[in-house]
């Protein structure tokens, strides 16, 4: 099914759930409302002509004033792809989990929770996955600031080269070159 038809099917079935859609991109792109996300995902998976059985990836994108949660879907049978997007505001990152629709979503969602702080409601095991449990903040957010240290281990260290140069300057103080004197006129012998 081509991009335009996929977009039309979704618009017809979910007039309120589809916020906006574009069929002129490489893969059809549909922005959906998070309240309809699970319903739309189930529809995409179970409708025979769509048959999106493969959830390829979930990626967060931080745009400053809003965040995107981007789902890449693929149908093995029909060889068509779809990009599903949900827009979220930075102060409200709750989004329904799709782990019950595609089991693959389980880890993808944990990763995006870890790196972006999306709160996937209904997720069976929402824990950090890349970073330690006690890590503070979500590193791929644009507002994230690198921590100074982790459990007393600093993330920066003094430059070894600068230390050596300082030691050299102390131990072997460089004497300024003697002031140039006018060379004596060579006398011929």
């Amino acid at each position: 099914m081509d991009a335009t038809t996929i977009v039309e099917r979704l618009r017809q079935r979910f007039p309120a759930g589809v916020v906006s859609a574009a069929a002129d991109t490489a893969d059809a792109t549909v922005v959906v409302d998070r309240s309809a996300l699970v319903e739309i995902a189930t529809f995409l998976r179970d409708t025979a002509e769509l048959d999106f059985d493969f959830l390829e990836s979930i990626a967060g994108v931080d745009l400053g004033e809003k965040l995107l949660c981007v789902y890449h879907l693929l149908s093995y049978q029909h060889r068509h792809a779809l990009v599903l997007k949900v827009e979220l505001l930075p102060d409200d990152l709750a989004i329904p989990s799709l782990a019950a629709v595609w089991p693959a979503a389980n880890w993808h969602e944990r990763e995006q929770y870890d790196l972006f702080g999306f709160a996937f409601t209904g997720h069976p095991d929402l824990r950090r996955i890349m970073l330690p449990e006690d890590w503070v903040g979500h590193p791929l957010r644009k507002s994230y600031r690198d921590p100074e240290e982790y459990h007393g281990i600093r993330h920066d260290r003094p430059s070894v080269l600068a230390q050596l140069q300082a030691r050299d300057a102390r131990d072997f103080p460089r004497t300024p070159p003697p002031a140039a004197t006018t060379p004596a006129t060579p006398t011929e012998s």
């Binding site: 990836s57 990626a59 994108v61 981007v70 890449h72 790196l115 996955i129 970073l131 791929l140």
Partner: protein
């Protein structure tokens, strides 16, 4: 998850064991928390992240052109594919046309690396099960490939070979002859490996009928590549969503048939990889025979600044299955967001749900057969 102290208080005879983070059969720094009742596993929980280097975060701080060496570190056993998928993603963003010769060079180098990666995968599998010799056989052959890539791009593992718009170097003089010579030498060795290992009764008994993954499960959990095909799903990006110059080459896609047990068991995952080595040999021969003349690098703007809000998702068939690279441009010379979708990550995800009821030794077989590479999981 219960902590070990809670478990001790419950005193039900079960044990919570750490397999890894440095266990030899975990192929990198991965921890499997194994809850066992004697030899039988109640649950195995993968804990990952030990090799998380924040490659996606680094990507946001480095201009498009300079990021290529970092992609080598996504999957260091098959770095060529991460190079290629990143280059393809940026090419999609810019709408760049890559010279055909460069596409062929990517295919030749990529298939060589796929062979090298499958050497590791199929060599480690018997090693994890207690047979060390096959590994040495494959490692010996893998050295030849390392020598070839060294001659091609100067590196044995971290190739940094693809460029946005092409590849970094044309073939060195006599390279095609050397590759063909190596393939002539390799083919009988693959057959020998078949006689030595693939048909070995002890090996078959350790793998056949162990942890079969049905086609439905494989798709639902997002398994890709050889793991997916072993479950009987006839899908290969190179053939089914063709990219690069693959449509011009003919090859078969090996699919798991349950030759010695059930479709999708550990043995199928092994056999599919051995067959893929043979198909890659076939592809390289064709690519060298049909290598077009011409440039190897397209004209690329000096400052790469895709329009803001433009995005691209590129896919390639890596040695571990579909590798994806998603880039969201914010209009600057650095990606606004860069994400790698890797095969090992989704393969790890299925372990926890497949583990209940397994013997400890079969968990090792499952883990080995998925051919997981730790840096690709953690990125």
């Amino acid at each position: 998850m219960d902590t070990s102290t809670q478990r001790a208080e419950r005193d039900d005879g079960r044990m919570l064991l750490n397999m890894g983070p440095q266990h030899p059969s975990t192929h990198g720094v991965i921890n499997l928390l194994v809850d066992t009742d004697g030899e039988v596993i109640t649950r195995a929980i993968p804990e990952i992240g030990y090799l998380h280097r924040g490659i996606e975060k680094i990507g946001e701080k480095i201009p498009y052109g300079g990021f290529m060496p970092y992609t080598d570190r996504v999957d260091y056993t098959a770095a060529m594919f991460a190079n290629e998928v990143y280059a393809r993603a940026v090419e999609l963003l810019l709408g760049l046309e890559v010279p055909r010769r460069a596409l062929y060079l990517r295919i030749i180098s990529g298939e060589l690396v796929r062979i090298a990666s499958h050497f590791l995968g199929t060599g480690c599998m018997p090693m994890d099960l207690g047979a060390f010799t096959p590994f040495t056989h494959w490692i010996r052959e893998r050295e030849y490939i390392n020598d070839l890539t060294e001659e091609l791009c100067g590196a044995r593992l971290t190739y940094n070979y693809a460029r946005i718009g092409g590849v970094s170097h044309d073939l060195p003089a006599g390279f095609d002859r050397k590759v063909l010579g190596f393939l002539d030498h390799l083919e009988p060795i693959v057959d020998e490996f078949d006689r030595l290992i693939t048909g070995n009764e002890i090996f078959i008994r350790r793998l056949a009928n162990i942890v079969p993954i049905s086609a439905k499960e494989a798709v639902a959990y997002g398994l890709v590549g050889p793991n997916l095909r072993a479950s009987g799903v006839d899908w290969d990006l190179r053939r089914d969503l063709p990219y690069s110059a693959y449509p011009e080459l003919s090859f078969e896609v090996p699919v798991g048939k349950g030759v010695r047990g059930t479709v999708g068991d550990c043995y199928d995952r092994f056999v599919v990889r051995i067959e893929e080595i043979r198909q890659s040999i076939k592809i390289i021969r064709q690519a060298i025979a049909g290598l077009p003349e011409g440039e190897v690098l397209a004209k690329v703007p000096k400052k790469i600044k895709p329009p803001a809000g433009k995005e691209a998702f590129a896919r390639v068939e890596s040695a571990r299955g579909e590798m994806g690279c998603y880039i969201y441009s914010d209009g600057t010379d650095k990606p606004g967001r860069l994400k790698f979708r890797t095969g090992s990550f989704s393969a790890m995800c299925i372990i926890e749900d497949k583990s209940p009821g397994l013997m400890v030794a079969d968990l090792v077989a499952l883990f080995a057969s998925l051919d997981v590479v730790a840096p690709e999981v953690d990125r």
